[in-house]
């Protein structure tokens, strides 16, 4: 059972709307290595796990990832405030806008809707934890790529926080895997 907390894990305060950045950062929510996939992956892998310790870390990281999805959504929401038609067209946000307006829709930067095809739950602890280690690195690279393309300090501050969390999760999953292999 889950209970909602009415607060972000990290504050999001973006002064300047930016349609192009929104069309890129949406991938961190609904892309192949996005937060929605991360939460879905970890929370669903739990049922086949052989120990309380591994179930615990998947539960707690998976729950945190749900919160990260909310942070990314907050970034998208604030980046798409008060956009003019010219800004929407110039920023390459037009295709997204036609389907979703400024609503938050989990999709990749390419426009591909969120899909479980990019995650796995194999029913095998060693297999799934190795997948999770790779997933954290893929998410970290996605944030690195966003940081290369974005020069908005308000956005980058939040993205750096999310990037750091991927590294911490990678550490914890490594420790969980070692409980099985050592």
């Amino acid at each position: 059972m889950w209970i909602y907390e009415k607060k972000l894990q990290y504050p999001v305060k973006i002064k300047t709307p930016n349609a192009r950045l929104a069309s890129q950062i949406i991938s961190a929510l609904g892309g192949p290595d996005g937060e929605l996939g991360a939460a879905t992956r970890y929370l669903n892998q739990r049922y086949a796990m052989p120990s309380g310790k591994i179930i615990g870390i998947l539960t707690d990281v998976g729950s945190e990832e749900l919160g990260h999805g909310e942070i990314v959504a907050a970034i998208i929401h604030q980046l798409t405030r008060n956009l003019t038609p010219d800004e929407i067209n110039a920023g390459g946000f037009d295709k997204y806008y036609i389907e979703h307006g400024t609503g938050v829709y989990p999709a990749a930067a390419s426009g591909e809707p969120f899909s479980c095809a990019s995650i796995q739950s194999k029913g095998d602890a060693i297999c799934d934890l190795n997948e999770d280690l790779a997933a954290e690195q893929k998410a970290r690279v996605t944030y690195d790529n966003i940081l290369r393309l974005s020069d908005d300090p308000d956005v980058n501050d939040v993205i750096k926080f999310l990037r750091q969390r991927e590294i911490v999760h990678y550490q914890r999953f490594g420790e969980a895997l070692r409980t099985l292999t050592e």
Binding site: M1, I3, R46, Y47, P50, S51, G52, K53, I55, G56, I57, T59, D60
Partner: protein, 103 residues
Amino acid sequence: MSKAELFRKLQELAFVKTELELFLDTHPDCKASLDYYYRIVDEYNTLLEQYEAKYGPITAAANVGEKWNWTKGPWPWHYEANEGVGPDKIDGGYTPSSMKGRK
């Protein structure tokens, strides 16, 4: 109240609490529902405190004492958890029945 009875009562109260939250979201001015909600929340918190003190945390932050008990015991989807066999019984490496006999 036995452990299983206490646990079941908690589930019932949590459900009533959720149901009232949904109702109050769309009927924020219903005084009777709000009063009922406060009563349920009170009762829930009292029983939750009793349960967690005896049998271990339902949320991680309710962990108390020298040991991290959050990850111990059966998880909610295990048959044993629903029989009311709780976190006090089993240490660290809990093995769900579906995994017994497997390497």
